[in-house]
Subunit: 368 residues, 2 copies
């Protein structure tokens, strides 16, 4: 089952709050999905994610297929049970990962031949297999297999590629069985508006539960990313969920919400934490810097996360410099809290009719 209701529309932008319902509960939108590539949000347990306010994660068909295997996960009761997460799970189809992680791959009409980045073994990913994997693990929101060409690809190649993505999307819809798992089409078309338009139209023709805007944030300027999200989002049905894949930084998210986007995911909060870079209300903070050696303040004096309530910058810097695992855990908690708090603030501002003020204040601060 999949349902999407719009709860409140902003009067001045295309921003809206909404409610996604899956068989694993409800997700208030706009929502950010932490990334659980290998069946875990790195270093964090599900109870913590729940407490942080997250109700949906995103995992990945490519990774789960290669390790531990979708059939194995299915035999163990599905991904929710396997990773002990009772709320919703979305999955990416694996199209992006096959093309970005695999050393050798060849895109053919009926799928992608590739070598595993883990052991070099050869595999053949088809639209049918991608859906089989996502259904086997019990994804609440599946993605169609797509081809995501590099940023520098020329118009005619992108055109061919998006036609293939459309044909694969149609096959994905045909291979999906039952009503348990929702299916989103992925808009491609590179940096070309005419091709983005064609992709949107073709996917809408097939008809999906929601629409993902893919192939962005892969090298183009941030302003171009924003323009293309605005353009694509404007072409998608207003009553369907819109998901900006791999987006993004807080500012990217706020801009995209303006354009009517409902869902986001990005490795930024978790990966930045592992690199010691923290989001604060006063901009980014690099915890390893010597200036924090004797600093008894928390990362962010206004933050109410577990890490900020209990630990000084000096301690966190010590853990980070000492390569202690606890550093990653505590810093990840902080960054995830920042993103969860950002999404709550966005939803509250839309509900209160103050989203434009919120957005302006955020953009003026220019801290992120």
């Amino acid at each position: 089952m999949y349902k999407f209701e719009i709860i409140k529309e902003d009067n001045f932008t295309k921003a809206r709050t909404g409610l996604i319902s899956t068989s694993h509960g409800r997700v208030e939108t706009p929502a950010f999905m932490p990334v659980a590539t290998q069946g875990t949000v790195k270093s964090i347990i599900p109870e913590e994610l729940q407490d942080l306010g997250f109700r949906m994660l995103i995992s990945n068909a490519y990774h789960l297929y290669l390790r531990p295997g979708h059939k194995e996960i299915n035999n163990l009761g599905g991904l929710h049970k396997f990773m002990n997460w009772r709320n919703s799970i979305a999955t990416d189809s694996g199209g992006f990962q096959v093309l970005s992680l695999s050393k050798k791959r060849k895109v053919k009409e009926d799928g992608i031949i590739f070598q595993s980045h883990l052991d070099g073994s050869e595999h053949f990913f088809t639209p049918k297999l991608s859906i089989e994997i996502q259904q086997a693990v019990g994804s609440d929101i599946m993605m169609c297999l797509d081809e995501c060409p590099p940023y520098s690809t020329d118009y005619s190649q992108i055109e061919k590629s998006l036609q293939l993505t459309t044909r694969w999307a149609k096959m994905c819809k045909e291979h999906k069985s039952g009503e348990q798992n929702a299916l989103f089409g992925i808009v491609q078309g590179g940096i070309f508006e005419s091709l983005r338009k064609r992709s949107c139209e073709q996917l809408i023709d097939i008809g999906f539960d929601g629409y993902s805007i893919g192939g962005l944030g892969i090298g183009e300027e941030p302003e171009r990313t924003h323009e293309l999200i605005e353009y694509s989002s404007g072409l998608l049905p207003a009553n369907k969920t819109r998901y900006a894949m791999g987006i993004g930084n807080p500012l990217d998210i706020i801009k995209s919400v303006c354009y009517g986007v409902d869902l986001f995911d990005c490795v930024i909060p978790t990966r930045n934490a592992r690199n010691g870079t923290l989001f604060t209300n006063n901009g980014k903070l690099v915890i390893k810097n010597a200036q924090f050696t004797n600093d008894s303040n928390p990362i962010d004096e206004y933050c109410k996360c577990y890490t900020c309530k209990n630990y000084s910058r000096a301690y966190l810097r010590h853990l980070y410099i000492s390569k202690e695992i606890l550093a990653i855990r505590l810093l990840t908690m902080h960054n995830l809290y920042f993103f969860s708090d950002l999404m709550t603030s966005i939803r509250d501002a839309i509900k209160d009719g103050t989203f434009t003020e919120f957005k302006n204040r955020f953009e003026t601060a220019e801290v992120i």
Copy 2:
């Protein structure tokens, strides 16, 4: 302040339960102290350690002196505040670590010259400095600086060494100020009973709050370790806390409790977890083994830890194989629970007058 009361003595062995009181609370003995070398029990937060039942950790003067520095910790309010641990903290003096970790060192009459294992910088560790460090970080139970010669050292060298350790112990006691921090002497003497005896007598002459049995578990056969703990423990005052340093495996702990030992610490539960080796009621389990690929059972069906209540061996194996940080965290939680549960069982058996049965059952099972 430091107080040690004996609560219950076993009728058949020298085992006893007791209660340590420090200015940071009470610790029921026999107790196991998780190791927080760098001011953190690797991957675990203080609230979890508290929930697991631990009331005292052990940290290390050598490590804290080198990084982040004892003066820095003191300026930040002491180690308890720095690492957010409200219960008791013991510290090792650094003698063992200087000799085991530093590449270059020279033992002199008034201390040890050594190069930092972190950056090669040269330092001079004296009894006075060791006490200064331990008082600066706010240790509840400090150790005297000792020389811990390698297992293979001959009688005359060990004899000279223990005399030095005695002279240093006396200086440590002289340099200690106030009543806030307890001080334990460390019994040395290698594998020679006559030297162990002399070390005990000299330390008792000086007089300490408790006595640590050091220089064991460094190469000798386990049976010899047990004999030397029994011998040394028997020479120490019955009304003082006895601490077997770096001990040990569950069986070593149970044997030592028989000989009247009250305190233990060891990296085994945490280090083994990081290596994927888990303690269970049916013996050790190596989580990476292929036999667990599809195993939906918990690590130990009788275990009530968070990890066993929520995750399958298959999932934990997947995390471990995938080098996920969460693997270390979940496996560490399990092993620490096992050790905490073991200590609770030991204390309960002594209180119930069933310690001998408990010990026999444990030894017969021969699973650890």
